[in-house]
Subunit: 283 residues, 2 copies
DNA sequence: TCGGATTACGTGCACCGTAATGATC
DNA sequence: GATCATTACGGTGCACGTAATCCGA
């Protein structure tokens, strides 16, 4: 068995062309590298270099060895990475959500139930979210539709109803309810991390402009200080019951009213039993 | 970069089940192995073992690491083998021959022309000999047909004519010439390393029995001391002109008279220029 | 009490760096 | 003289083995 650092040094030499340059790159002395290469030849029982008096070059064996060595080094690196990744995955729960509202609640619940675990979360409007769950990109997901029973373990977590938030002076401010298409053409303030809501808005209001806001605080500020229509939901209003000078009008589109499901792949069911037990016992 | 001997030790532990057994197998002390495994965990930044008070077991990370490590070790071993093999191939000429007679001559010529090289030779009746040449199993071949000009570099080396060797009392002993099928049904003494001749005899004389002899000396002895028919060739008779109490009758089959060609793959042409020059200048 | 793992401790040697040498441009 | 490789030499850190300790069956 030949130690890998010898191959590493060989590759460094191949990259640099001279022992001295390679030695510098490797932060070792030139004689040390020279000896290492002699040792490598000895252990391989093969010459790797053409040694001229004041120059050293790879011979055919050397060229071949470098080719293999590069491969071996890549192999080892990727191996180490994969082991670390496997370990990391075991100690983190990665949550994918189709919408933002439930994320803080679920994350804090997870970090309570699985203390010591790292919880990471991501909001995505990508309709392939459930597939990502199966692929292992997420261990847990919040979906706005009940996923396939045979592939997933899931339970309902909360409902959410979309509202348009209008200033009282807005021409539609006294409507009892509105369809999104009735609002098409107007300019909205919109949070950038709305997950699947974003797609819905753009589909139903193709002529509207959306002023995207990355920061929730900034968005709130703008809503409070402008006459631009925006969106809110019953969930949000429950969470933050501060009085507002806006009127909230329910959106009547069927898709504006959703039930969120928490889901994991069937094989992971046992891992998240505590979480599901919590939500099932609550309802 | 993690040294490969740590992975080797990990695999040994996985194979043995305890540190002490693995340490013995590796010819190191138990504490040394214990520390190595701690170091491996440190360098991987991952735990690999469940440590109970008086027992140590692979955890999930460990199992995965062992799987990868086995792979890496195989990889390195095969790499080393291939480099050595490549080197060896460069300093040996491997000759494949369809028949035995020319082998000593060609081998001695090769070792003269390419002093320092190892010459290995093999006799085979396999009609795919030329293909083996292209595959690199042989660098040089003696064929009994001129090979494809576009793929091979070749030149004629010698002719050979097959004879049946009969005792004077044999009913056919005064024939001027014979076809093999006229001899079918008889029992022959036959050398086992005849290459393609073997196939020819069995095809033309399907009802004959052949008493195969591994040793040339034994065969000669038997020929001298029995009345069984055997084979010889003009080449053999020229080489060994000792008088014999046998009669040699030429075999008239077209295939019983061959010209041998020495051949190498076109790309190797330059390597064997000296050899071809020798044979071409001779004719 | 024995077998197995880890910790403590002293030691040797493998490998390093510096210095010297040789060679080429 | 500058650059590059190899050899010589002296020093040191690191991994080893021995011994001691702890734990469990």
């Amino acid at each position: 068995m030949i130690e890998i650092h010898l191959f590493e040094q060989l590759v460094a030499f191949a990259d640099c062309g001279t022992l001295s340059a390679a030695a510098e790159k490797l932060h070792i002395s030139q004689p040390a590298l020279s000896r290492s290469m002699q040792r490598l030849e000895q252990e391989l029982e093969v010459t790797l270099f053409d040694r001229q008096k004041s120059r050293i070059l790879l011979n055919e064996n050397g060229e071949l060895a470098v080719k293999y060595a590069r491969n071996l080094l890549l192999q080892e690196n990727s191996m180490i990475e994969q082991i670390r990744e496997f370990d990391r995955k075991k100690r983190t729960i990665s949550l994918g959500s189709c919408a933002p509202v439930l994320v803080p609640e679920v994350v804090s619940l997870l970090s309570w139930l699985y203390s010591g675990m790292t919880i990471s979360s991501e909001i995505t409007g990508d309709p392939a979210l459930a597939d990502y769950l199966l692929e292992g990109r997420y261990q847990l997901a919040i979906l706005h539709e009940k996923p396939d029973e045979t592939l997933f373990c899931s339970c309902p977590v909360a409902d959410e109803q979309l509202y348009v938030s209008l200033p009282p002076v807005h021409p539609l401010a006294d409507a009892e309810g509105l369809y999104l298409r009735e609002l098409d053409g107007q300019t909205f303030l919109l949070y950038s991390q709305t997950g699947f809501w974003d797609k819905l808005c753009r589909r139903e209001m193709p002529s509207s402009r959306f002023l995207m806001q990355e920061e929730m605080e900034v968005l709130d500020e703008l809503v409070a200080n402008s006459a631009l229509p925006a969106f809110t939901t019953d969930y949000i209003m429950r969470q933050d019951p501060r009085p507002s000078d806006r009127v909230a009008i329910p959106v009547l589109d069927e898709e504006a009213s959703v039930t969120y499901y928490c889901a994991c792949p069937r094989p992971e069911q046992t891992r998240f039993r505590a979480l599901f037990r919590h939500y099932r016992s609550r309802s």
